[in-house]
Symmetry: C2
Subunit: 396 residues, 2 copies
């Protein structure tokens, strides 16, 4: 029996809430369930303003519109990320300036950012890979000093935190001027396709509602602030359907339980790879980060070894996958004329992800992993155990 890479988790209340949304006679956007989801995030994390969107991509597009990105503006972001991080800004005409990853973590290397800033730089996009915080104090300080905006691509980072030097925890998505979350079915908290924009800077609050509502002042109209509404700005149909918002609320009500289950599997994986199969570099949880159990990934020594590992796992029915093609060497990204980004290239070639979802049967998967990796070790792979005792020790 195959162990799939991902299985969308159902708490049990999703269908009831969807049925209720239908009974309420409102399945388009911004109804009861949307409001409940907004409140959940605003209360739990102290986010200033939340707006559910049809995807994290769309939340990033809203951010690019809010920042008034125009052709020629430069936006700094990691090369090792999902295409939408870049496309959202390219759609507004931005020139993307790719930043390399850290050697001990796929997150962007904050020490390289300042060297990429020019007079044309408008924003930095910090992507919290695997839900683990970029070094946000350093990034915010650089942005502040150069008058830049910071957008957090917190697609994978629900309920994860940056821990500052005094031990204070700051929820990811709530630190930059704007933040974007994903509720795609592969994430911790899901609703099929969906996302959310977080507005942390007061200056963007009013306009964010207008852009969300197709460039109209409809929301202000329904609050009685204007006497008729019309076309006042650019914008799109960013609202999430109540069907998806209802699904999402059921998930949010079980957020602690879902994350606890995921973290348990993550830790079991990590123990296993620390003790039994030490040929891979395990994930590093930086001192300033928390772990929301979003993703368990391993880093091989080379593309060849990753291919062997993935083939071996496939042969025993474990749905392991690799992801993210270094955007700076893609057809589109190449147009931005970047330097070689060694770490981004390394994670592109060497990283792979293991199945991780709340219902995963850990015993079954470890048995299969053992079999798969034994094939690899005794067969053509020739991976040797290395001293990988310290979590996150960089290869180079």
């Amino acid at each position: 029996m195959k162990i799939q890479f991902n299985k969308p988790y159902k708490t049990g209340k999703e269908l009831l809430y969807i049925e209720d949304a239908i009974e309420r006679g409102k399945i388009s956007g911004n109804g009861h369930y949307t409001q409940e989801c907004h409140s959940f995030f605003e209360k739990r994390y102290g986010f200033r303003k939340c707006l559910l969107t049809t995807s994290c991509t769309d939340a990033l597009e809203m951010a690019a519109i809010l920042l008034d990105i125009t052709p020629g503006d430069e936006v700094i972001m990691p090369a090792y990320t999902f295409v939408s991080t870049a496309n959202a800004f390219v759609l507004r005409g931005a020139t993307i300036v790719f930043c390399d990853s850290r050697s001990d973590h796929p997150n962007m290397n904050e020490e390289l950012i300042e060297g990429l800033i020019t007079a044309k730089t408008k924003a930095i996009v910090a992507v919290h890979y695997a839900g683990m915080a970029c070094k946000m104090d350093a990034i915010m300080e650089i942005a502040d000093r150069h008058g830049l905006f910071v957008v957090e691509d917190a697609a994978q980072a629900v309920d994860s935190y940056f821990v500052d030097s005094e031990g204070q925890k700051h929820p990811l998505g709530g630190i930059g001027h704007l933040g974007a979350f994903s509720f795609h079915e592969t994430k911790n908290i899901i609703c099929g396709e969906g996302g959310m924009l977080v507005v942390n800077d007061e200056r963007f609050e009013k306009r964010s509602e207008i852009i969300w509502e197709k460039g109209t002042n409809r929301t202000a109209f329904f609050r009685g602030e204007v006497d008729k509404y019309g076309w006042v700005d650019i914008g799109s149909s960013f609202l999430m359907s109540e069907l998806n918002a209802a699904f999402l609320l059921a998930q949010l009500e079980n957020l602690d339980e879902i994350l606890q289950k995921r973290r348990h599997i993550w830790e079991t994986y990590d123990d296993f790879f620390a003790s039994e199969f030490t040929a891979f570099l395990r994930p590093n949880v930086p001192d300033w980060a928390t772990n929301n159990g979003h993703m368990y990934y391993l880093v091989c020594e080379s593309l060849e070894k990753r291919t062997l590992a993935l083939d071996a796992l496939k042969s025993v029915g474990v749905g392991a996958v690799f992801h993210y093609q270094n955007l700076s060497s893609s057809k589109m990204g190449g147009g931005f004329n970047q330097a070689q980004l060694d770490q981004a290239e390394r994670y592109t070639n060497c990283l792979f992800r293991l199945p991780l979802f709340p219902e995963l049967d850990a015993e079954k998967v470890f048995l299969k992993l053992k079999n798969g990796l034994l094939i690899e070790k005794t067969g053509s792979c020739k991976l040797e155990n290395n001293d990988n005792s310290r979590t996150g020790k960089p290869i180079d």
Copy 2:
């Protein structure tokens, strides 16, 4: 008891299909239900290629990207339309050239189009108001002669047709180079928030899949046409969640019944206003159009009279609404420096819509309408019956 303006219709299978989508372990986009919906449209209407999107707005945005709209390009469209018709093209930098409506129908006056064409014109967007066809033979002929693209904004036009001079019926959305549909909860066939792009011109077929999949060649990859996929174009997260696609399929399976119910209510309204309350201009169904029962609207003689009518209907609990602010006189539209568009202004000020949904209790609504309009007639309204015997007779 109030009669609401709209009530989302449920065929009864929506929740079962949503539950099945969840059981299939796929609630993001492009799964079983998405494919079934695509097939439905491709088979029933002969559309070349269909792609479900998160909204009709997003389908129009895909069209603007596919047409390579760049700053300076001019796009001709009606001023009397939803903001998204314009915003989708403005987001790509287009200059909008607004066309006035016909005097006998809110659709754009095709006789005015040619006078608006310049060397910069790239496309004409034909919006089929109330699901009734624009004069597509004339529009296609003009576009052909000037080498322009035609996008059909068929948001309201599911299962509606253009009838050519030989009596042949052509499904709306399938005539222009590209077409866009809406499945917003106010439409005939719904899924909360949702839409669909129709690609009728072979030249756009391959790229449409790439733009749909966030600018990646992921779809070609899964068909085995390329050996890895990456970032090859601009694009966005246009895919509709399977939750919404499942809802949509349940609706599509009942399309004939839903439309028959809506048409029946439409015709009952029309008989009522032809015989009992003739102070309003009733909808005109042009010779070249069919009626999909999407919308029953009336046109008053003036803004003042419409305000009185809406107030009167409100007082008896009938949820009648007006809509569409002439885009050319909006804050955003004004930036495009348009001539006065008298008919667009007239429909903006004088048109209103009556409740129309499959479960509407016609007897109840007519009793209320009578009471409401009697208040209006005997009270402050002073509307006089006019000779409105010919459907769609223009006021001027």
